[in-house]
Protein backbone atom coordinates (compact mmCIF):
# COMPACT_ATOMS: atom_id res chain seq x y z
CA UNK A 1 0.00 0.00 0.00
CA UNK A 2 1.27 3.44 -0.93
CA UNK A 3 1.26 5.81 2.01
CA UNK A 4 0.69 9.24 0.58
CA UNK A 5 1.09 12.56 2.34
CA UNK A 6 -2.69 12.68 2.74
CA UNK A 7 -2.63 9.25 4.46
CA UNK A 8 0.13 10.43 6.77
CA UNK A 9 -1.83 13.53 7.73
CA UNK A 10 -4.79 11.37 8.65
CA UNK A 11 -2.76 8.71 10.44
CA UNK A 12 -0.52 10.93 12.57
CA UNK A 13 -3.19 12.38 14.89
CA UNK A 14 -4.79 8.93 15.27
CA UNK A 15 -1.39 7.43 16.12
CA UNK A 16 -0.72 10.24 18.62
CA UNK A 17 -4.03 9.56 20.40
CA UNK A 18 -3.37 5.80 20.40
CA UNK A 19 0.14 6.33 21.84
CA UNK A 20 -1.30 8.53 24.59
CA UNK A 21 -3.58 5.66 25.55
CA UNK A 22 -0.63 3.25 25.65
CA UNK A 23 1.30 5.61 27.91
CA UNK A 24 -1.70 6.25 30.16
CA UNK A 25 -2.12 2.52 30.74
CA UNK A 26 1.50 1.88 31.64
CA UNK A 27 1.79 1.05 35.33
CA UNK A 28 4.62 2.35 37.47
CA UNK A 29 7.66 0.15 36.98
CA UNK A 30 7.74 -2.58 39.64
CA UNK A 31 9.50 -5.75 38.58
CA UNK A 32 8.03 -9.01 39.91
CA UNK A 33 4.72 -7.32 40.77
CA UNK A 34 1.73 -8.87 39.06
CA UNK A 35 -1.43 -6.77 39.12
CA UNK A 36 -3.69 -9.77 38.66
CA UNK A 37 -2.38 -11.46 41.82
CA UNK A 38 -3.61 -8.80 44.26
CA UNK A 39 -6.85 -7.23 45.45
CA UNK A 40 -5.92 -4.63 48.03
CA UNK A 41 -8.00 -3.53 50.97
CA UNK A 42 -7.44 -2.26 54.50
CA UNK A 43 -8.54 -3.47 57.89
CA UNK A 44 -9.14 -0.95 60.68
CA UNK A 45 -9.38 -2.49 64.11
CA UNK A 46 -11.15 0.37 65.90
CA UNK A 47 -10.72 -0.78 69.51
CA UNK A 48 -6.96 -0.57 68.95
CA UNK A 49 -6.91 3.02 67.67
CA UNK A 50 -5.58 5.46 70.28
CA UNK A 51 -5.94 8.63 68.18
CA UNK A 52 -2.21 9.41 68.23
CA UNK A 53 -2.27 10.84 64.70
CA UNK A 54 0.89 8.98 63.63
CA UNK A 55 -0.90 7.68 60.55
CA UNK A 56 -1.94 11.19 59.45
CA UNK A 57 1.58 12.56 59.90
CA UNK A 58 3.20 9.60 58.15
CA UNK A 59 0.80 9.94 55.22
CA UNK A 60 1.46 13.67 54.87
CA UNK A 61 5.21 13.14 54.90
CA UNK A 62 5.22 10.11 52.61
CA UNK A 63 2.85 11.60 50.04
CA UNK A 64 3.69 15.28 50.33
CA UNK A 65 0.09 16.14 51.23
CA UNK A 66 -0.41 19.93 51.46
CA UNK A 67 -1.40 21.46 54.80
CA UNK A 68 -5.13 21.59 55.39
CA UNK A 69 -5.87 18.61 53.12
CA UNK A 70 -6.01 14.97 54.09
CA UNK A 71 -5.55 11.61 52.40
CA UNK A 72 -6.28 10.07 55.77
CA UNK A 73 -7.54 11.59 58.99
CA UNK A 74 -8.81 10.51 62.42
CA UNK A 75 -12.18 11.47 63.91
CA UNK A 76 -13.07 11.34 67.58
CA UNK A 77 -16.65 10.39 68.37
CA UNK A 78 -18.48 11.14 71.56
CA UNK A 79 -21.80 9.30 71.77
CA UNK A 80 -24.26 9.71 74.61
CA UNK A 81 -26.75 7.06 75.73
CA UNK A 82 -29.78 9.22 75.09
CA UNK A 83 -28.94 10.43 71.57
CA UNK A 84 -26.92 7.80 69.75
CA UNK A 85 -27.93 9.14 66.34
CA UNK A 86 -26.37 12.55 66.94
CA UNK A 87 -22.80 12.03 68.03
CA UNK A 88 -20.44 14.87 68.74
CA UNK A 89 -17.46 14.53 66.42
CA UNK A 90 -14.19 16.43 66.20
CA UNK A 91 -11.04 16.09 64.18
CA UNK A 92 -8.72 19.03 64.91
CA UNK A 93 -6.37 19.38 61.92
CA UNK A 94 -7.42 15.89 60.85
CA UNK A 95 -6.13 14.47 64.15
CA UNK A 96 -2.58 15.10 62.91
CA UNK A 97 -1.34 16.24 66.32
CA UNK A 98 -3.47 13.87 68.30
CA UNK A 99 -6.46 15.06 70.34
CA UNK A 100 -6.81 17.32 73.38
CA UNK A 101 -8.51 15.71 76.39
CA UNK A 102 -12.24 15.35 75.80
CA UNK A 103 -14.46 17.88 77.55
CA UNK A 104 -17.54 15.75 76.99
CA UNK A 105 -18.87 13.93 80.02
CA UNK A 106 -20.82 10.67 80.10
CA UNK A 107 -21.35 8.45 77.08
CA UNK A 108 -18.44 6.93 75.22
CA UNK A 109 -15.46 8.20 73.24
CA UNK A 110 -13.69 6.39 70.44
CA UNK A 111 -11.51 7.15 67.40
CA UNK A 112 -12.27 6.39 63.76
CA UNK A 113 -9.48 6.62 61.19
CA UNK A 114 -10.76 7.45 57.71
CA UNK A 115 -9.27 7.12 54.26
CA UNK A 116 -10.38 6.39 50.71
CA UNK A 117 -12.46 3.22 50.79
CA UNK A 118 -11.11 2.03 47.45
CA UNK A 119 -14.62 1.07 46.49
CA UNK A 120 -15.02 -1.68 43.93
CA UNK A 121 -18.00 0.26 42.53
CA UNK A 122 -16.63 3.71 43.17
CA UNK A 123 -18.89 6.70 42.41
CA UNK A 124 -15.83 8.90 41.87
CA UNK A 125 -14.49 6.87 38.96
CA UNK A 126 -17.99 6.62 37.50
CA UNK A 127 -18.37 10.39 37.14
CA UNK A 128 -14.88 11.37 35.93
CA UNK A 129 -15.49 12.85 32.47
CA UNK A 130 -12.18 11.67 31.00
CA UNK A 131 -11.46 8.53 33.01
CA UNK A 132 -8.51 10.19 34.76
CA UNK A 133 -9.47 8.37 37.93
CA UNK A 134 -9.76 4.63 37.64
CA UNK A 135 -9.69 1.33 39.52
CA UNK A 136 -6.45 -0.49 38.94
CA UNK A 137 -6.64 -4.25 38.26
CA UNK A 138 -5.35 -4.86 41.80
CA UNK A 139 -8.26 -2.93 43.32
CA UNK A 140 -6.81 0.50 44.11
CA UNK A 141 -8.61 3.69 43.06
CA UNK A 142 -6.01 5.98 41.51
CA UNK A 143 -5.86 9.39 39.80
CA UNK A 144 -3.78 10.15 36.72
CA UNK A 145 -2.55 13.66 37.50
CA UNK A 146 -1.41 14.24 33.95
CA UNK A 147 -4.91 13.64 32.69
CA UNK A 148 -7.20 15.09 35.38
CA UNK A 149 -9.06 18.23 34.26
CA UNK A 150 -9.65 19.48 37.81
CA UNK A 151 -13.43 19.63 37.29
CA UNK A 152 -14.02 18.43 40.87
CA UNK A 153 -16.95 16.19 39.96
CA UNK A 154 -15.24 13.24 41.68
CA UNK A 155 -14.88 15.27 44.89
CA UNK A 156 -18.64 15.86 44.84
CA UNK A 157 -19.39 12.21 44.10
CA UNK A 158 -17.35 10.68 46.95
CA UNK A 159 -19.76 9.92 49.81
CA UNK A 160 -16.91 9.79 52.34
CA UNK A 161 -15.22 13.17 51.73
CA UNK A 162 -11.94 11.50 50.86
CA UNK A 163 -10.97 13.59 47.84
CA UNK A 164 -9.61 17.10 47.50
CA UNK A 165 -8.02 19.30 44.87
CA UNK A 166 -4.31 19.74 45.43
CA UNK A 167 -3.77 23.50 45.17
CA UNK A 168 -0.30 22.99 43.71
CA UNK A 169 -1.30 20.69 40.85
CA UNK A 170 -4.97 21.75 40.52
CA UNK A 171 -5.86 18.07 40.14
CA UNK A 172 -7.86 15.64 42.25
CA UNK A 173 -5.95 13.83 44.96
CA UNK A 174 -6.70 11.06 47.43
CA UNK A 175 -5.24 8.05 49.22
CA UNK A 176 -3.42 5.73 46.81
CA UNK A 177 -2.89 3.05 49.46
CA UNK A 178 0.76 4.10 49.00
CA UNK A 179 0.69 2.38 45.63
CA UNK A 180 4.35 3.21 45.09
CA UNK A 181 5.14 1.18 48.23
CA UNK A 182 2.73 -1.74 48.08
CA UNK A 183 3.76 -2.65 44.53
CA UNK A 184 7.28 -3.04 45.87
CA UNK A 185 6.30 -5.36 48.67
CA UNK A 186 6.08 -2.71 51.41
CA UNK A 187 3.07 -1.76 53.49
CA UNK A 188 1.46 1.70 53.50
CA UNK A 189 3.01 4.58 55.45
CA UNK A 190 -0.02 4.79 57.76
CA UNK A 191 0.02 1.05 58.57
CA UNK A 192 3.76 1.09 59.15
CA UNK A 193 3.55 4.02 61.55
CA UNK A 194 0.56 2.77 63.54
CA UNK A 195 1.89 1.89 67.03
CA UNK A 196 -0.98 -0.45 67.92
CA UNK A 197 -1.56 -2.25 64.63
CA UNK A 198 -5.01 -0.73 64.30
CA UNK A 199 -4.45 -0.30 60.56
CA UNK A 200 -3.47 -3.30 58.49
CA UNK A 201 -3.00 -3.49 54.76
CA UNK A 202 -4.72 -6.59 53.41
CA UNK A 203 -4.59 -8.49 50.16
CA UNK A 204 -7.84 -10.34 49.58
CA UNK A 205 -6.33 -12.40 46.78
CA UNK A 206 -3.56 -13.73 48.98
CA UNK A 207 -4.90 -16.89 50.67
CA UNK A 208 -2.24 -16.61 53.38
CA UNK A 209 -3.17 -13.06 54.38
CA UNK A 210 -4.40 -12.97 58.02
CA UNK A 211 -7.31 -10.79 56.85
CA UNK A 212 -9.25 -13.92 55.91
CA UNK A 213 -9.10 -15.31 59.42
CA UNK A 214 -9.95 -11.90 60.87
CA UNK A 215 -12.97 -11.38 58.63
CA UNK A 216 -14.29 -14.84 59.57
CA UNK A 217 -14.02 -14.29 63.28
CA UNK A 218 -15.08 -10.68 63.78
CA UNK A 219 -18.10 -8.47 63.19
CA UNK A 220 -17.00 -6.38 60.26
CA UNK A 221 -18.68 -3.31 58.82
CA UNK A 222 -17.93 -0.79 56.08
CA UNK A 223 -18.81 2.92 56.15
CA UNK A 224 -22.19 3.90 54.67
CA UNK A 225 -23.07 0.42 53.35
CA UNK A 226 -26.33 1.83 51.93
CA UNK A 227 -24.26 3.67 49.33
CA UNK A 228 -23.55 0.27 47.73
CA UNK A 229 -20.04 1.25 46.73
CA UNK A 230 -18.49 -2.08 47.78
CA UNK A 231 -16.01 -0.29 50.00
CA UNK A 232 -12.84 -2.24 50.78
CA UNK A 233 -11.85 -0.57 54.03
CA UNK A 234 -13.18 -2.94 56.66
CA UNK A 235 -13.86 -1.76 60.20
CA UNK A 236 -13.89 -3.99 63.23
CA UNK A 237 -16.03 -2.72 66.09
CA UNK A 238 -17.66 0.10 64.10
CA UNK A 239 -20.31 1.90 66.12
CA UNK A 240 -23.66 2.55 64.45
CA UNK A 241 -23.33 6.27 65.06
CA UNK A 242 -20.32 6.61 62.76
CA UNK A 243 -20.97 8.51 59.54
Amino acid sequence: MNVTRRHMLLLLPAAAIAWKHVLAGTPEAAPNYKLSEHWWSMLIDLPKCIGCGNCVRACQTENDVPDGYFRTWVERYHVTDYDIENPHVDSPDGGKKGFPPSKEEGGKNFFVPKLCNHCADSPCTQVCPVGATFISPDGVVLVDKKYCLGCRYCVQACPYGCRFINPATETAEKCTLCYHRITKGLTTACCESCPTGARQLADLKNPNDPIHEFLKTHSIQVLKPYMATHAKVFYNGLDGSVR
Binding site: G68, Y69, F70, P129, Y147, R152, Y160, G161, R243
Partner: protein, 395 residues
Protein backbone atom coordinates in the same frame (compact mmCIF):
# COMPACT_ATOMS: atom_id res chain seq x y z
CA UNK B 1 -12.56 27.00 62.39
CA UNK B 2 -14.18 30.22 61.06
CA UNK B 3 -17.28 29.65 58.95
CA UNK B 4 -17.69 26.05 60.10
CA UNK B 5 -20.41 24.89 62.46
CA UNK B 6 -20.46 21.37 63.86
CA UNK B 7 -18.35 18.72 62.17
CA UNK B 8 -17.30 18.64 58.52
CA UNK B 9 -15.06 15.96 57.02
CA UNK B 10 -11.77 17.89 56.84
CA UNK B 11 -11.68 17.94 53.02
CA UNK B 12 -15.22 19.32 52.82
CA UNK B 13 -14.58 22.71 54.38
CA UNK B 14 -13.60 24.29 51.06
CA UNK B 15 -16.42 24.49 48.51
CA UNK B 16 -15.61 22.85 45.20
CA UNK B 17 -18.11 24.49 42.87
CA UNK B 18 -18.28 28.28 42.90
CA UNK B 19 -20.62 30.99 41.62
CA UNK B 20 -19.45 30.19 38.09
CA UNK B 21 -21.04 26.76 38.36
CA UNK B 22 -24.20 28.55 39.50
CA UNK B 23 -24.00 30.61 36.34
CA UNK B 24 -23.55 27.61 34.05
CA UNK B 25 -27.02 26.04 34.56
CA UNK B 26 -28.51 29.54 34.64
CA UNK B 27 -27.09 30.38 31.20
CA UNK B 28 -27.91 27.01 29.61
CA UNK B 29 -31.40 27.28 31.06
CA UNK B 30 -31.91 30.59 29.28
CA UNK B 31 -30.75 28.96 26.05
CA UNK B 32 -33.15 26.04 26.32
CA UNK B 33 -36.05 28.24 27.39
CA UNK B 34 -35.52 30.82 24.63
CA UNK B 35 -35.38 28.06 22.03
CA UNK B 36 -38.56 26.45 23.28
CA UNK B 37 -40.31 29.81 23.07
CA UNK B 38 -39.10 30.15 19.47
CA UNK B 39 -40.43 26.68 18.69
CA UNK B 40 -43.90 27.72 19.87
CA UNK B 41 -44.28 29.79 16.73
CA UNK B 42 -42.45 27.47 14.34
CA UNK B 43 -43.82 24.09 15.34
CA UNK B 44 -46.91 24.75 17.41
CA UNK B 45 -48.14 27.59 15.20
CA UNK B 46 -48.64 30.06 18.06
CA UNK B 47 -48.71 33.05 15.70
CA UNK B 48 -49.00 35.63 18.48
CA UNK B 49 -45.37 35.15 19.54
CA UNK B 50 -44.03 35.58 16.00
CA UNK B 51 -42.45 39.01 16.73
CA UNK B 52 -40.09 37.31 19.19
CA UNK B 53 -39.19 34.29 17.04
CA UNK B 54 -35.89 35.52 15.62
CA UNK B 55 -35.00 37.45 18.76
CA UNK B 56 -35.49 34.26 20.81
CA UNK B 57 -33.17 32.32 18.49
CA UNK B 58 -30.47 35.00 18.65
CA UNK B 59 -30.85 35.21 22.43
CA UNK B 60 -30.41 31.44 22.67
CA UNK B 61 -27.28 31.62 20.51
CA UNK B 62 -25.76 34.52 22.48
CA UNK B 63 -26.20 32.71 25.79
CA UNK B 64 -25.10 29.37 24.38
CA UNK B 65 -21.83 30.86 23.15
CA UNK B 66 -21.04 32.01 26.69
CA UNK B 67 -22.37 28.91 28.51
CA UNK B 68 -19.10 26.89 28.41
CA UNK B 69 -16.96 29.83 29.58
CA UNK B 70 -17.78 29.49 33.32
CA UNK B 71 -16.88 25.80 33.06
CA UNK B 72 -13.59 26.54 31.33
CA UNK B 73 -12.69 29.18 33.91
CA UNK B 74 -13.53 26.78 36.71
CA UNK B 75 -11.42 23.85 35.51
CA UNK B 76 -8.08 23.31 37.21
CA UNK B 77 -6.67 22.47 33.77
CA UNK B 78 -8.76 24.14 31.07
CA UNK B 79 -6.08 23.30 28.51
CA UNK B 80 -7.04 19.63 28.92
CA UNK B 81 -10.76 20.09 28.36
CA UNK B 82 -10.46 18.86 24.76
CA UNK B 83 -9.82 15.41 26.28
CA UNK B 84 -13.57 15.19 26.89
CA UNK B 85 -13.97 14.98 23.12
CA UNK B 86 -11.03 12.66 22.47
CA UNK B 87 -11.44 10.21 25.33
CA UNK B 88 -14.88 10.68 26.90
CA UNK B 89 -15.58 8.40 29.83
CA UNK B 90 -18.66 6.40 28.94
CA UNK B 91 -20.11 6.24 32.46
CA UNK B 92 -19.76 9.97 33.15
CA UNK B 93 -22.70 12.31 32.69
CA UNK B 94 -20.28 15.22 32.45
CA UNK B 95 -18.41 13.59 29.56
CA UNK B 96 -21.47 14.08 27.42
CA UNK B 97 -21.31 17.85 27.84
CA UNK B 98 -19.15 18.53 24.82
CA UNK B 99 -21.25 16.40 22.54
CA UNK B 100 -24.61 17.69 23.73
CA UNK B 101 -23.29 21.25 23.50
CA UNK B 102 -21.84 20.87 20.02
CA UNK B 103 -24.94 19.09 18.76
CA UNK B 104 -27.16 21.82 20.10
CA UNK B 105 -24.93 24.67 18.90
CA UNK B 106 -24.10 23.46 15.43
CA UNK B 107 -26.80 21.00 14.41
CA UNK B 108 -29.71 22.88 15.90
CA UNK B 109 -29.22 26.52 16.71
CA UNK B 110 -26.68 27.78 14.16
CA UNK B 111 -28.26 25.70 11.39
CA UNK B 112 -31.75 26.92 12.18
CA UNK B 113 -30.67 30.56 12.40
CA UNK B 114 -28.77 30.24 9.14
CA UNK B 115 -31.75 28.72 7.36
CA UNK B 116 -34.10 31.33 8.73
CA UNK B 117 -31.80 34.22 7.82
CA UNK B 118 -30.49 32.84 4.53
CA UNK B 119 -32.61 35.11 2.39
CA UNK B 120 -31.64 38.17 4.42
CA UNK B 121 -27.97 37.20 4.34
CA UNK B 122 -28.01 36.85 0.56
CA UNK B 123 -29.81 40.17 0.17
CA UNK B 124 -27.41 41.88 2.59
CA UNK B 125 -24.35 40.33 0.91
CA UNK B 126 -25.37 42.16 -2.24
CA UNK B 127 -26.80 45.38 -0.85
CA UNK B 128 -24.03 46.24 1.64
CA UNK B 129 -20.46 47.32 0.98
CA UNK B 130 -17.00 46.98 2.50
CA UNK B 131 -16.24 44.60 5.38
CA UNK B 132 -19.93 44.03 6.05
CA UNK B 133 -20.34 42.70 2.54
CA UNK B 134 -17.39 40.36 3.15
CA UNK B 135 -18.96 39.02 6.36
CA UNK B 136 -22.34 38.44 4.73
CA UNK B 137 -20.72 36.79 1.70
CA UNK B 138 -18.92 34.35 3.99
CA UNK B 139 -22.18 33.75 5.86
CA UNK B 140 -24.00 32.76 2.68
CA UNK B 141 -21.65 29.75 2.54
CA UNK B 142 -21.83 30.07 -1.22
CA UNK B 143 -25.56 29.47 -1.31
CA UNK B 144 -27.08 32.43 -3.15
CA UNK B 145 -30.22 30.81 -4.46
CA UNK B 146 -33.19 32.60 -2.95
CA UNK B 147 -35.82 31.56 -5.42
CA UNK B 148 -39.25 30.82 -4.08
CA UNK B 149 -38.59 27.09 -4.35
CA UNK B 150 -35.27 27.35 -2.47
CA UNK B 151 -36.87 29.38 0.31
CA UNK B 152 -39.65 26.83 0.54
CA UNK B 153 -37.04 24.11 1.02
CA UNK B 154 -35.38 26.26 3.72
CA UNK B 155 -38.71 26.60 5.45
CA UNK B 156 -39.37 22.85 5.47
CA UNK B 157 -35.84 21.97 6.63
CA UNK B 158 -36.04 24.68 9.28
CA UNK B 159 -39.28 23.19 10.57
CA UNK B 160 -37.65 19.75 10.86
CA UNK B 161 -34.63 21.27 12.64
CA UNK B 162 -36.94 23.00 15.14
CA UNK B 163 -38.73 19.72 15.68
CA UNK B 164 -35.39 18.04 16.43
CA UNK B 165 -34.41 21.11 18.43
CA UNK B 166 -37.17 20.74 21.02
CA UNK B 167 -36.00 17.38 22.41
CA UNK B 168 -32.42 18.65 22.00
CA UNK B 169 -33.22 21.68 24.19
CA UNK B 170 -34.76 19.30 26.73
CA UNK B 171 -31.66 17.12 26.49
CA UNK B 172 -29.32 20.09 26.96
CA UNK B 173 -30.88 21.24 30.17
CA UNK B 174 -32.19 17.92 31.40
CA UNK B 175 -28.62 16.72 31.17
CA UNK B 176 -27.45 19.60 33.35
CA UNK B 177 -30.04 18.56 35.93
CA UNK B 178 -28.88 14.96 35.66
CA UNK B 179 -25.30 16.00 36.53
CA UNK B 180 -26.61 17.03 39.93
CA UNK B 181 -29.50 14.59 40.30
CA UNK B 182 -27.32 11.53 39.77
CA UNK B 183 -24.93 12.21 42.67
CA UNK B 184 -26.10 9.69 45.25
CA UNK B 185 -23.58 10.95 47.79
CA UNK B 186 -25.44 14.25 48.06
CA UNK B 187 -29.06 14.04 49.26
CA UNK B 188 -29.71 17.71 48.40
CA UNK B 189 -29.04 16.88 44.73
CA UNK B 190 -29.87 13.21 44.39
CA UNK B 191 -33.37 13.15 42.92
CA UNK B 192 -34.89 11.81 39.70
CA UNK B 193 -36.98 15.00 39.64
CA UNK B 194 -33.89 17.17 39.25
CA UNK B 195 -33.65 16.97 35.41
CA UNK B 196 -37.39 17.65 35.06
CA UNK B 197 -37.26 20.60 37.46
CA UNK B 198 -34.25 21.93 35.55
CA UNK B 199 -36.10 21.68 32.23
CA UNK B 200 -39.15 23.53 33.47
CA UNK B 201 -37.15 26.17 35.30
CA UNK B 202 -35.14 26.60 32.10
CA UNK B 203 -38.30 27.22 30.15
CA UNK B 204 -39.45 29.72 32.76
CA UNK B 205 -36.19 31.67 32.73
CA UNK B 206 -35.84 31.58 28.93
CA UNK B 207 -39.38 32.77 28.32
CA UNK B 208 -38.96 35.57 30.88
CA UNK B 209 -35.66 36.65 29.33
CA UNK B 210 -37.01 36.84 25.78
CA UNK B 211 -40.08 38.69 27.02
CA UNK B 212 -37.94 41.26 28.84
CA UNK B 213 -35.49 41.66 25.97
CA UNK B 214 -38.35 42.06 23.48
CA UNK B 215 -40.03 44.70 25.62
CA UNK B 216 -36.78 46.56 26.23
CA UNK B 217 -35.61 46.45 22.60
CA UNK B 218 -38.99 47.55 21.27
CA UNK B 219 -39.06 50.40 23.77
CA UNK B 220 -35.47 51.37 22.89
CA UNK B 221 -36.34 51.36 19.17
CA UNK B 222 -39.36 53.57 19.95
CA UNK B 223 -41.64 51.01 18.36
CA UNK B 224 -44.97 49.85 19.72
CA UNK B 225 -44.93 46.74 21.86
CA UNK B 226 -47.17 44.08 20.36
CA UNK B 227 -49.39 43.48 23.39
CA UNK B 228 -51.01 40.41 21.88
CA UNK B 229 -47.52 38.89 21.68
CA UNK B 230 -46.47 39.91 25.20
CA UNK B 231 -49.80 38.79 26.68
CA UNK B 232 -49.34 35.36 25.08
CA UNK B 233 -45.76 35.05 26.28
CA UNK B 234 -46.82 36.05 29.79
CA UNK B 235 -49.57 33.45 29.70
CA UNK B 236 -47.11 30.71 28.69
CA UNK B 237 -44.73 31.96 31.37
CA UNK B 238 -47.46 31.58 33.97
CA UNK B 239 -48.41 28.05 32.89
CA UNK B 240 -44.80 26.87 32.79
CA UNK B 241 -44.06 28.53 36.10
CA UNK B 242 -47.00 26.78 37.78
CA UNK B 243 -45.73 23.38 36.57
CA UNK B 244 -42.19 24.26 37.67
CA UNK B 245 -43.33 25.40 41.10
CA UNK B 246 -45.57 22.34 41.42
CA UNK B 247 -42.62 20.05 40.74
CA UNK B 248 -40.41 21.87 43.23
CA UNK B 249 -43.11 21.71 45.87
CA UNK B 250 -43.58 17.99 45.16
CA UNK B 251 -39.88 17.48 45.80
CA UNK B 252 -40.05 19.57 48.98
CA UNK B 253 -43.16 17.84 50.37
CA UNK B 254 -41.68 14.46 49.57
CA UNK B 255 -38.52 15.32 51.49
CA UNK B 256 -40.46 16.68 54.47
CA UNK B 257 -42.84 13.73 54.63
CA UNK B 258 -40.16 11.10 54.13
CA UNK B 259 -37.77 12.79 56.60
CA UNK B 260 -34.87 10.48 55.89
CA UNK B 261 -31.53 10.65 57.70
CA UNK B 262 -30.43 13.76 55.81
CA UNK B 263 -33.62 15.72 56.52
CA UNK B 264 -32.65 17.18 59.87
CA UNK B 265 -29.43 18.53 58.46
CA UNK B 266 -31.00 19.93 55.27
CA UNK B 267 -33.93 21.39 57.16
CA UNK B 268 -31.57 23.21 59.50
CA UNK B 269 -29.61 24.52 56.51
CA UNK B 270 -32.75 25.85 54.79
CA UNK B 271 -33.77 27.62 57.98
CA UNK B 272 -30.36 29.18 58.59
CA UNK B 273 -27.70 29.53 55.89
CA UNK B 274 -30.09 29.24 52.96
CA UNK B 275 -33.03 31.09 54.51
CA UNK B 276 -32.63 34.32 52.56
CA UNK B 277 -31.67 32.80 49.21
CA UNK B 278 -34.13 29.88 49.38
CA UNK B 279 -37.21 30.95 51.31
CA UNK B 280 -37.14 34.71 50.72
CA UNK B 281 -35.53 35.19 47.30
CA UNK B 282 -36.33 31.94 45.50
CA UNK B 283 -39.74 30.98 46.84
CA UNK B 284 -41.40 34.19 48.04
CA UNK B 285 -39.91 36.91 45.81
CA UNK B 286 -38.82 34.82 42.85
CA UNK B 287 -41.70 32.37 42.50
CA UNK B 288 -44.86 33.13 44.49
CA UNK B 289 -44.77 36.88 43.71
CA UNK B 290 -44.34 36.60 39.91
CA UNK B 291 -46.90 33.77 39.71
CA UNK B 292 -49.37 35.94 41.65
CA UNK B 293 -48.63 38.96 39.45
CA UNK B 294 -49.01 36.98 36.25
CA UNK B 295 -52.17 35.30 37.52
CA UNK B 296 -53.55 38.74 38.34
CA UNK B 297 -53.28 39.77 34.68
CA UNK B 298 -55.33 36.70 33.78
CA UNK B 299 -58.21 37.30 36.18
CA UNK B 300 -58.37 41.10 36.37
CA UNK B 301 -58.91 43.31 33.32
CA UNK B 302 -55.96 45.70 33.43
CA UNK B 303 -54.87 48.52 31.16
CA UNK B 304 -51.97 48.17 28.73
CA UNK B 305 -49.52 50.20 30.77
CA UNK B 306 -50.35 48.31 33.96
CA UNK B 307 -49.85 44.99 32.18
CA UNK B 308 -46.51 46.10 30.74
CA UNK B 309 -45.29 47.12 34.19
CA UNK B 310 -46.49 43.91 35.75
CA UNK B 311 -44.82 41.81 33.03
CA UNK B 312 -41.57 43.71 33.43
CA UNK B 313 -41.62 43.32 37.20
CA UNK B 314 -42.68 39.66 37.07
CA UNK B 315 -40.00 38.94 34.44
CA UNK B 316 -37.23 40.49 36.55
CA UNK B 317 -38.41 38.70 39.70
CA UNK B 318 -38.61 35.42 37.76
CA UNK B 319 -35.00 35.70 36.61
CA UNK B 320 -33.91 36.55 40.14
CA UNK B 321 -35.84 33.54 41.47
CA UNK B 322 -34.39 31.13 38.91
CA UNK B 323 -30.87 32.40 39.60
CA UNK B 324 -31.54 31.89 43.31
CA UNK B 325 -32.77 28.37 42.55
CA UNK B 326 -29.48 27.57 40.73
CA UNK B 327 -27.58 29.14 43.64
CA UNK B 328 -29.46 27.08 46.20
CA UNK B 329 -28.89 23.87 44.26
CA UNK B 330 -25.19 24.37 43.55
CA UNK B 331 -24.00 26.28 46.62
CA UNK B 332 -26.63 24.85 49.00
CA UNK B 333 -25.59 21.33 48.05
CA UNK B 334 -22.09 22.01 49.34
CA UNK B 335 -22.82 23.85 52.57
CA UNK B 336 -23.61 20.79 54.64
CA UNK B 337 -21.35 17.89 55.51
CA UNK B 338 -21.99 14.45 54.04
CA UNK B 339 -21.72 13.35 57.67
CA UNK B 340 -24.89 15.46 58.29
CA UNK B 341 -23.17 16.82 61.36
CA UNK B 342 -21.99 20.24 60.26
CA UNK B 343 -22.06 23.20 57.89
CA UNK B 344 -19.54 25.32 56.10
CA UNK B 345 -19.73 28.78 54.49
CA UNK B 346 -19.24 29.89 50.92
CA UNK B 347 -16.77 32.75 50.67
CA UNK B 348 -17.04 34.27 47.23
CA UNK B 349 -13.94 35.97 45.89
CA UNK B 350 -14.34 39.39 44.32
CA UNK B 351 -11.65 39.87 41.70
CA UNK B 352 -10.56 36.25 41.33
CA UNK B 353 -10.83 33.73 38.50
CA UNK B 354 -14.06 32.41 39.99
CA UNK B 355 -15.16 35.55 41.77
CA UNK B 356 -18.04 37.99 41.67
CA UNK B 357 -16.52 40.25 39.02
CA UNK B 358 -16.04 37.35 36.63
CA UNK B 359 -19.62 36.22 37.24
CA UNK B 360 -20.89 39.72 36.42
CA UNK B 361 -18.76 39.84 33.25
CA UNK B 362 -20.08 36.45 32.15
CA UNK B 363 -23.66 37.58 32.76
CA UNK B 364 -23.24 40.76 30.73
CA UNK B 365 -21.19 39.14 27.95
CA UNK B 366 -24.16 37.31 26.34
CA UNK B 367 -26.06 40.60 26.19
CA UNK B 368 -23.12 42.23 24.38
CA UNK B 369 -22.95 39.27 21.99
CA UNK B 370 -26.71 39.54 21.47
CA UNK B 371 -26.30 43.23 20.63
CA UNK B 372 -23.69 42.26 18.01
CA UNK B 373 -25.89 39.50 16.61
CA UNK B 374 -28.88 41.83 16.39
CA UNK B 375 -26.74 44.36 14.51
CA UNK B 376 -25.49 41.64 12.16
CA UNK B 377 -28.78 39.80 11.74
CA UNK B 378 -31.63 42.19 12.51
CA UNK B 379 -34.56 40.17 13.83
CA UNK B 380 -37.09 42.70 12.54
CA UNK B 381 -37.46 42.32 8.79
CA UNK B 382 -38.95 45.70 8.04
CA UNK B 383 -35.69 47.55 8.76
CA UNK B 384 -33.45 45.58 6.43
CA UNK B 385 -35.78 45.10 3.54
CA UNK B 386 -33.16 45.10 0.83
CA UNK B 387 -34.70 44.15 -2.47
CA UNK B 388 -33.55 41.74 -5.07
CA UNK B 389 -35.35 40.84 -8.19
CA UNK B 390 -36.96 37.43 -7.83
CA UNK B 391 -36.63 37.32 -4.04
CA UNK B 392 -39.56 36.07 -2.06
CA UNK B 393 -40.99 38.41 0.53
CA UNK B 394 -39.54 38.14 4.01
CA UNK B 395 -41.44 35.93 6.36
Amino acid sequence: MPGVEGFMYPNEIELQWSVLIVLYPFLTGLVAGAFILASLERVFQVQEVKPTYRLALLTALAFLLVAPLPLQLHLGHPERSYEMYLTPHKTSAMAMFGFVYLWYLMAVLVFEIWLDYRRDIVVLSQSTTGWKRMIYRVMTLGSNNISEHALHVDERVGWVITLIGIPSAFLLHGYVGFIFGSIKANPWWSSPLMPVVFIFSAMVSGIATVMLIYMFVTWARKETIDMRCVDTIARYLLYTFIIDFGLEMLDLIHRIYESDESFRSLDFMVHTKLYVSHIVVQILLGTVTPITLLALTQVVRLGEMARKRIYALAGCLTLMGIFAMRWNVVIGGQLFSKSFLGYTTYKMGLVTREGLLMAIVLTILPLIILWGLVKLLPPWPEKNAGSLAGAAPAR
